[in-house]
Amino acid sequence: MNAELDSLYQEIILDHYKNPHHAGLRDPYEAEVHHVNPTCGDEVTLRVHIAEGTVVDVSYDAVGCSISQASASVMTDLVIGKPVDEAMSVHEEFLTLMQGKGTVEPDEDVLEDGIAFAGVAKFPARVKCALLSWMAWKDATARSLEETR
């Protein structure tokens, strides 16, 4: 029965969970959002700093399970430093993976550590956990673009 579990809790995920990257809230930022998973109560407060079309920083304070925490950590690795467009398309790719019910083959070149979440797609109840911080990031990014327009 651990095989099933191991496909969910990949080592990479547990590593990010124990040592999350880019955690904490930092200045400067253009937009801060607060997202909740109503089913379980997991929460994330997330800030985005964008300059000249590039995601300069994403900082966050999150309470939640291993999947949602690790996902926030991996997300920041993937988007920080990227042009907003490119980061958005990584987001799309991650979304597709999560909604694929385990049928989508992840592209390591694009998703890097994010491929570890392929197993999550087979656990419908956990998909929301993996997406919480990504949704918050997308929302905050949209707002900061409006802000700076």
């Binding site: 029965m1 651990n2 099933e4 379980c40 997991d42 939640g64 999947i67």
Partner: protein, 420 residues
């Protein structure tokens, strides 16, 4: 293994519940410890519903033909069964709703439109508690916000009981309604409903008792507990979804304005104006949950045949055993009273270093079904400074061996997440 207080025929009872024979992924047998969320259904309930659908289905009240008479009789018989189950002085005081949430909203919503004595406005207060299910919080927030009244609440002690220290300053002449849960779905606490009702009645307030968690496991007598309104939900008392019960004192129900309009709740309808039927029909607009009432009736008769006293003893025995087992897990903290004799069978806990989602996931991989999250009781979680918790909840079919499976599962979880 056996414990004092366990239902003697436990293995026979388990055979009544077909789902308990299920195996899950990896061939794991089901260990269902999520009964406070929804209970499983015995064969007799399923069979009663099937028999109704296959042989007696018709609309009620309106139909004069033989099927209609059979269906109406089955439906109204369920009302009699409910009335007996809760000791209602009159069957007419028993109203079928879709669930406990609708029943609570019905009261709050009709009070919003009430005139005269019952009208609620500025300066008036509604008192609830910090351990309520969201379904007994939000309706009162909506009511008080919309009418300019004030919502107040009992706080909780460290051990998860109602803090009654300031009851006299909380329930005052301004209090119009006191609404509280009999048994908490998160902390398990059994509240002194009768004592609070006494104080509420002294100031002339209406007492609403949420018996959603009490009805499954305690003998309920509406008069004894001194409620004006008492609600519970079908799916937690081994009945189907789609049905709940609102019991209310006749004088109150007659005074309240109608809730939903249409169908059978009328006396006469003209385009200009309508008049309304007497209780219970006044509050049952449209086609009621007929097959659900049949199922609920069968469910309550099943529970009554086993005996609520016996079920309560069984729950206490299992809960005590579970509390003992949980106490052996390092870093585990139970939220709520630790004395099984003073609580219901829902036990929520935290475990250091592992999030409730992850605990539930590991348990699930071993076939053990528990709930993780806020259990629709966010304020109670906030009170104890936690975001979410893991909750195991037993029922009349739960065995000590299933508790052992839970405890082993928790040990395994700690190992899996390399805690401690």
């Amino acid at each position: 293994m056996t414990l004092p207080g366990l239902l003697p025929e436990l293995e026979v009872i388990r055979k009544d519940f077909p789902i308990l024979e299920r195996t899950l992924a990896g061939g794991m047998p089901l260990v269902y410890l999520d009964s406070a969320n929804t209970s499983q259904k015995p064969q007799c309930v399923i069979d009663a519903m099937v028999d109704h659908l296959e042989r007696h289905n018709a609309n009620v009240a309106r139909a004069m033909h033989q099927l209609g008479a059979e269906s109406s009789e089955a439906f109204e018989n369920a009302r009699d069964v409910v009335a007996r189950f809760i000791g209602a002085p009159s069957r007419d005081e028993v109203i079928f709703t879709k669930n406990a949430s609708e029943a609570l909203n019905l009261v709050a919503n009709t009070l919003a439109w009430a005139t005269g004595d019952l009208a609620i406005g500025e300066g008036d207060e509604v008192v609830i508690t910090e351990m309520e299910h969201h379904s007994n919080i939000v309706p009162w927030q909506l009511l008080t916000e919309r009418k300019g009244a004030t919502l107040r609440w009992f706080g909780l002690t460290e051990s998860g009981e109602l803090d009654l220290a300031d009851i006299d300053s909380l329930i005052t002449e301004r209090t119009k309604v006191v609404s509280l849960t009999w048994v908490s779905n998160m902390l398990g606490t059994i509240n002194p409903v009768k004592e609070i009702a006494r104080r509420a009645h002294e100031v002339g307030a209406i007492v609403v008792v949420d018996a959603s968690q009490a009805a499954p496991q305690l003998p309920v007598d509406v008069t004894e507990v001194d409620a004006d309104v008492l609600v519970f939900t079908g799916h937690k008392v081994v009945g189907p979804t789609g049905i709940g019960v609102l019991w209310g004192k006749r004088s109150l129900l007659e005074q309240l304005p109608p809730f939903l309009g249409g169908g059978e709740m009328i006396e006469t309808v003209r385009m200009e104006r309508s008049t309304y039927a007497g209780i219970p029909h006044k509050f049952e607009a449209g086609t009621p949950p007929i097959v659900e009432a049949v199922g609920l009736g069968a469910a309550l008769e099943y529970l009554a045949a086993i005996g609520l006293d016996n079920i309560h003893r069984h729950e206490q025995a299992i809960t005590a055993y579970a509390l003992d087992g949980l106490a052996t897990i390092p870093g585990l903290r139970v939220l709520g009273p630790l004395d099984a004799a003073r609580r219901g069978g829902a036990v929520a806990f935290e475990m250091d270093g592992v999030h409730p989602h992850d605990i539930a996931q590991v348990l699930d991989s071993r076939g053990v079904a528990v709930r993780a999250g806020h259990h629709c009781a966010k304020p109670a979680h906030a009170r104890f400074g936690v975001q979410s918790s893991t909750r195991m909840s037993s029922y009349l079919y739960t065995t000590p061996a299933e508790i052992d499976a839970l405890v082993e599962g928790l040990e395994h979880t700690r190992a899996y997440f390399k805690v401690g």
